[in-house]
Symmetry: C2
Subunit: 554 residues, 2 copies
């Protein structure tokens, strides 16, 4: 997506005094959300995202009631503000704080879910909506609209689930849901942009072009992120040798992280992937070259910026939901609106279920082939191991619960969907065409419904899942609960198995090339470690074996 | 100033691709400036501000040469971007990091320089330009223009001097130059806004109204800042009791600091004063209620944001200087331009000298009156003591050097002047009238000249001043160098004298009401301490006796 900065602040583009009102309002509301969110943290149902959404809805109601709907432009969601200011800190922080070891150990399963799962979901929503709407006699939309719709509604929002999961208690589940969320966001945005570039008629040729463009975006964006991250590490390592200045270090890290994002955009790449990988590289190298106080500062600053952005986004989506303009336009055909919204919601549920089941099936298929039985087992990581390989060890009910949780985490739709919908179906936030207004209102309906209904249920559900020792004894056999432990509780016992092969202190050299085939992840990991220690660290810096930001400081 | 957010990013308001270019360009340039600034730190002449200015000028030249002056809109200075995004972090950080004890001990002398000095400078520049321009036969401008010009050119920029002074080595000199800079900024902005509100004809009535409005803005803005700061302290103290979350704490502090600024603007108060006092209150109370890692994070985050803003501003002013539009319009009358610029530059120098001399005279006058000889001595602080009371102890040459340094620190004009000039003489950055274009180009000329010429000399000059032990033996008697020590080196020996009376651990009760008259600062300080310990700290929190952010952490 080429950033259109000319409306960086449609939000603020009010005549005269109104903008100060709206900035003050938003800053005050975000502060209030944070305080209320903290107070409600201990309750059974509410979480930060739902609180912010509810806050946004209430505020919008008050504004509409007090002004008779006059200045409802304040409520308008601005996709550019979202893509330029709010999304980058969230994604960068995701890369910066991710537990790299677990992320890369589960790289394949995360990508299976993130890329393949998203593509499946995209296909089902696109084709399903095209078929069903035609059946309903709704023929306003063309093929391009349906394809865009598929991409828009494939972007999941895992923030809600992640806020409930605890990274310390369930690192594996957390990193899987988290990794999938980031890859999914990137995939759907890249997908959306790739679709926008091509004509609406699908031919084998365009499919090829599309795939090419997709792979090109993915690889180049990643490389750019890595390059900028390494550059920051190199600069800080070489320049600041013996003469550290915390302010300069922190400033340089923030600026170069953002630079990677805008550069990606300048080269028409995917900023989200670039800034994610820039974050990973920065936490692996750059972060080790700076002073102790810079480390504490960057870790918390990035987390705080991400936190503010998240809260702001939910608040913003909540307020946008009551922007009357589009509802009035869509109101012309209430039946259609309801039909479209519920159909799409159904397709989202089906698409997500299909993608979870398909990925499971893919894993199992590979798992059953005799060639790389063990290899693939380790390849798909502990997650695949517990989930799919050891099916016979798991009680059916627990198995179902796990699958439901993964399905669940990917059910919610969020700001990425709203932003993409605005990008496709409006021009700078406004539309007069009912067929477009319906698409916007349907997206908002799905976002609100999934976040409020599923969001409120997430905390109890995840809590239920996270107490397998107590709970599982009631719903399953003791045997299964022990099998659940590695997934839900800590997973270090199984993870250590991989460690002893591919990493850790006792690095064992793979004996032959067959190793590379049978144990690709471990082997890649082994060679990466060697390369990292021999070549990368002397140039770009980097501390001891295992020192991600999240482990050292607290 | 009422924020006009509708052009928050005129900078970005380019059609299509250009904005991404400019954002990328600016982020890359700021990064480069920081790196180059670090490399040049040890050199004799250059400092961060001059580097950024030079960078901006070079970049602008390259852009103009490569594009034949087509997209020179990128270079346009945006006053709203400045007032909304860049200034608040700088001023907040100023309040947050100021050494409160020294600031309030020297409160009167700082205000004498900051308020009275600025008013004198304002008067001289306004009246001088009105008189001289009339003599030159330049009659385009009215009284309102001259008054505005006085306010615009009274706003000093002490960043350049502060970057050279070292807060640890010369805390007193630093806090005086620093405190004067902030008060001066606030005074000139408040002055500018007050002038804008009144008609161009001066009558005794408008002078009264003006004074009233000035005092109203000053006091209410300060109170608002204190109120928001206390609110943040109270919220964090009450809510987070026993359950701290670093991200929430940091987010809340950032948001509430900014909230104070936009609220001030909403109520048409002076955001700069509000956010400054909010910073002071936050560092005195709020900062003590948060976790250790939050403390490190907030301290460095605020400093970093301020640092980035400062660098960006100098870069921006440098680039703006070569925006061709206004030069072309002003070129119509080159003689006038040169005459105006040099006249104004002369008036700036004279105004500053007059204000320094007048304030010195005022202090001496008060000092000679028999009633509160000692009282006033302590009132004007160590600064006044060394500078004015002990004149006979000081060698004339050294005395002159000190006065020159103070004069010097206030000579440079910066972004506040440019922003105010744009506000007064353009409409959203553009003007077609030569008389306005000349004002803009003259302001830019003065800013560039003072920063580049004086800026390059600052480092050698201050270095010269800061080595009185070595240098003074050459230029003055040993006696005078010992008298200089408290001012230039540490000042703790004299400061401790005040401590034992008004603060510190051995609080001695003032014996009678005469104390309040003869030693107002110490007495106020004593009662404030009592009140702070008995009432404020139990409610709003706050640590030990002396624990400003800058002392604890490093």
């Amino acid at each position: 997506m080429s950033l259109k900065l000319d409306s960086v602040s449609t939000l603020l583009n009010e005549p005269d005094a109104a903008p100060v009102h709206s900035v003050t309002l938003f800053v005050a509301l975000v502060s209030a959300c944070i305080v209320i969110g903290h107070l409600l943290q201990k309750t059974r149902w509410m979480n930060q995202s739902v609180t912010a959404l509810a806050f946004g809805l209430c505020t919008a109601t008050v504004i509409i009631l007090t002004t008779n709907g006059k200045i409802s432009d304040i409520l308008l969601f601005d996709e550019d503000l979202f893509f330029i200011c709010l999304l980058p800190p969230i994604i960068f922080n995701a890369g910066f704080q991710v537990k790299k070891k677990q992320f890369f150990q589960n790289f394949i399963i995360i990508n299976l879910f993130g890329v393949v799962g998203t593509l499946i979901s995209f296909g089902i929503i696109s084709m399903g909506s095209a078929q069903l709407f035609m059946k309903f006699g709704l023929t306003f939309w063309d093929q391009g609209d349906f394809l865009a719709l598929g991409a828009i509604l494939s972007a999941t929002d895992t923030v809600c689930t992640l806020q409930v999961l605890n990274q310390e208690d369930t690192p594996l589940l957390y990193s899987l849901v988290f990794g999938e969320g980031v890859v999914n966001d990137a995939t759907s945005i890249v997908l959306f942009n790739a679709i926008q570039k091509f004509s609406v008629h699908i031919t084998p040729d365009t499919v090829m072009q599309f795939t090419g463009s997709f792979l090109y975006l993915f690889s180049l964006s990643t490389l750019l992120g890595i390059a900028v991250g390494l550059m920051s590490a190199y600069i800080i390592r070489k320049l600041y040798f013996g003469r550290h200045s915390t302010d300069r270090e922190v400033a340089l890290m923030i600026l170069m992280a953002y630079l990677s994002y805008v550069m990606a955009d300048l080269f028409q790449l995917s900023g989200i992937l670039t800034v994610f990988f820039c974050g990973i590289v920065m936490s692996h190298y750059t972060w080790h070259n700076i002073t102790e106080s810079s480390r504490v500062t960057t870790k918390h600053t990035f987390a705080t910026l991400s936190f503010i952005s998240e809260t702001f986004i939910f608040l913003y989506v909540g307020m946008d939901a009551l922007d009357m303009e589009k509802w009035k336009i869509a109101k012309g055909s209430p039946g259609t609106s309801v039909a479209v919204s519920s159909t799409l919601l159904g397709l989202v549920l089906v698409g997500r279920a299909a993608s979870v089941i398909s990925v499971s099936f893919l894993s199992n298929l590979a798992n059953d082939s005799p060639i790389d039985k063990i290899g693939f087992k380790q390849q798909v990581g502990i997650f695949g191991l517990a989930l799919f390989a050891d099916l016979n060890l798991l009680n059916d009910k627990v198995m179902l619960l796990i699958q439901v949780t993964i399905w669940w985490a990917g059910l919610m739709r969020g700001a990425v969907s709203v932003a993409l919908a605005y990008n496709k179906f409006t021009s700078s936030g406004h539309t007069q065409r009912p067929k477009n207004a319906i698409m916007i209102t349907s997206t908002i309906t799905i976002v609100l419904f999934s976040n409020v209904v599923f969001g409120l249920l997430t905390k109890p559900l995840v809590r239920l899942m996270l107490q397998p020792r107590e709970q599982s004894s009631e719903i399953s056999s003791p045997k299964s609960s022990s099998a659940l432990l590695p997934l839900l509780a800590n997973g270090q016992d199984l993870a250590s198995e991989l460690d002893s092969v591919g990493g850790g202190i006792s690095i064992r050299r793979p004996s032959s090339l067959t190793m590379l085939i049978t144990k690709p992840t471990s082997t890649v990991h082994y060679y990466w470690r060697k390369f990292d220690n021999a070549v990368m660290r002397p140039i770009f810096g980097g501390g001891g074996e295992e020192s991600p930001p999240n482990d050292i400081l607290h």
